[in-house]
Amino acid sequence: MRKISLIALLAVCLVLLTAGTALAAHGSSGDRTGYVEQSALGCAGCHADSATHTFGPHGGYTSTSNKCQLCHQVHNAGSARLLPGQTVTDACQHCHDITGTDSAPYYASDLANPAYGSDVKASHRVFGTVNGFVYNTTFGSTTIPGGDATNGGDSTLDTSGQGALSGTDFTCNSCHTPHAVAANTVDIYLGESHVKQTTRNLGAGRMKIYLTNRILKRTVNGVDTGGTYGTEWCAGCHQGRDNMGDVFNHPVNQAGTGYDMLDAALPAGASWLNGSNEATVVAKAYVMIDTNGTPGGDADLDADPRSNIWYAMEATDPVNGDAARPDGNVPFATGSGPACQQCHASPRNVDAAFWAGFDTEGEGYPSRGTFPHLSTNTKLLVEAGDDFCTNCHNLNLP
């Protein structure tokens, strides 16, 4: 009898083991088929508004472009969304698997990045399968650190606005919307990655810098963040990090944008690009830079595209008292502070950023475009330790 029981037990274990493998890909909650949402929303759920304001494969669909088919397959697709994957992240990973680009590696937290090595200390981890492994037990957590506005503690992500394929997990779709429909995305903003600039076929001193909204959703965590990428966008989830709430936090400029640090002030001796007198977001695909004495007629003379390189700083170097830095001498808004993105961004050498010229390949430039997917610094901070604090805080203060 004991033997029989043992055999039965082993058989059951064997079956469970096999079933575990089979069910692993469907281990998370929510409707992964998309049929439910598709039925409820109909075609308009995705195709209600053709106005898009980005380019590349996501957006800019015209009668002569061929972009839809790159993600969607009309027949025999992997899901009701006609996508190549069963989940949102599977679909994204189909292209964004670091063999073709590392500019938006959705699972960069798991894969060594050729630019960074593998020393990843912080990341936004999304639900998904990586190299055949399902990480839904540790990834895709809906816990938002500092998400509770009342006490600064954790909160739970509102996933109601996500596509059905996301289920109830934190996915790429929690922050990005692949179709870039204008009404659903933030405004385009000044990018920070060198991959979006080109000097190809341009004369000396000329450069195109492309602008994109990174298909970021306007509404995140159920909060309409106002359509601008900046502090409020981050605070859509991390509501407990707001200094004007019930919790003591480092001041942040609530209206601060994540891309326009220069505002209208520039230290003496520094010059604006293109003869502009302010850093401006322009609603166009790219900004044409022309630093020649006589700029070409196609130069955007009303916009200085430099952004997110500089910090709100004191008039002199806070560490050594050097003269005003060439950039970034911007007074804080009253009762306010820097934007989230001034402290949280892709790692770089801030000091080098201040003293370097307009060098998007330099060590001071946030050129790798991985923020906020991953960072080799903790807490997704731009620098670590006191080197970070002393960018703004004077060591000679009492």
Partner: protein, 356 residues
Amino acid sequence: MKGKHKANIIIAVLTVTLALMTYIYISIPEFGGGGIVSAQKKKVGKIEFLFAVYGPGRGTLPSLNKPMSVAADKENNIYVSDSGNNRVVVFNRRGEFMFEFGSRGVAHPRAGEKADWSPGKFNYPYGIDIDEETGNIFVADLVNKRIQIFDNQGKFIDWFPKEPYGGTADDIFPLALDVRDGKVYIANPFNIVIFNTKGEFIKDFGMPGDGDAQFDRPNGIAAGKDGTIYVSDSNNLRVQALDPDGKVKWIYGKVVNAFDNFNKKPQEFELPRNIAAGPDGNIYVIDSFDFNIKVLSPEGKLLARMGKRGVDDGTFNFPNGIAVTGDKIIYVADKGNDRVQAVRLTDFVIEEEEKQ
């Protein structure tokens, strides 16, 4: 008591049956959902479909998962870099499963986690090729930043580079590789590195960019009989042919700025990925976003553009890998369909692009 005894026997029989069924399910290809799924020859235009393999059809991973690259040996055996499953799967020339090796192992873990790589483990294996002289299998273990060498039975031999390799960078991030005449040609994201088959560094060249001999994530590399190095310069949407010193001989395809011109047709390439040098001297390129095979002459002239998107036999869905045997059978790693197809081009045709 007698009734109880009977019940016990019934339970025992049922249990053994269940265990047997489970064993059969995971061990026998025909019951496991993999193996040769389609071997009915057919023609799709001038493409002759021979067969497709979807996986070993046995074990806990009976099916392929994102097969990114494929290689062939002198016997036309098929070696698949089953990237999503972190393994290599080998089939014979008829598509019958032979053996597999590899599992997931991380050499460069996240902070706070331990490395668990050991010889024979992979973290996203990608490029694969066979040394014709020895039959050894070379695998580009992409995220572990190394090339692993196995004998023709899948037994681990060695890996390289174990330390800064002596070129312009410290390490490699090998996307594609090709082995020919004692050399291992490796396509890194922005340059080309050449080792000998013992893993000793020979030279490297190239840099990021879209000029001559500059690269943007080349996902294919193949050496010709005369030493010409053909590089599928993927994100620059072109193929570059270079001499052994890295000097450009010709370029087919044009760089287009994706922000302005993404996927606007006609273009020479939509997204060229793996590349193979055929026994006829021609260059076979997989265009992943155009869902077809393109054939270039050794001088860089387009000879054929064949194939279309689909899930049926003889059609492709984001194909990524290609290998050409000595008798010009083409193996395609049909990534989006999680299979490898064996096809033959009965003629070279420049097919009209389909209206989308």
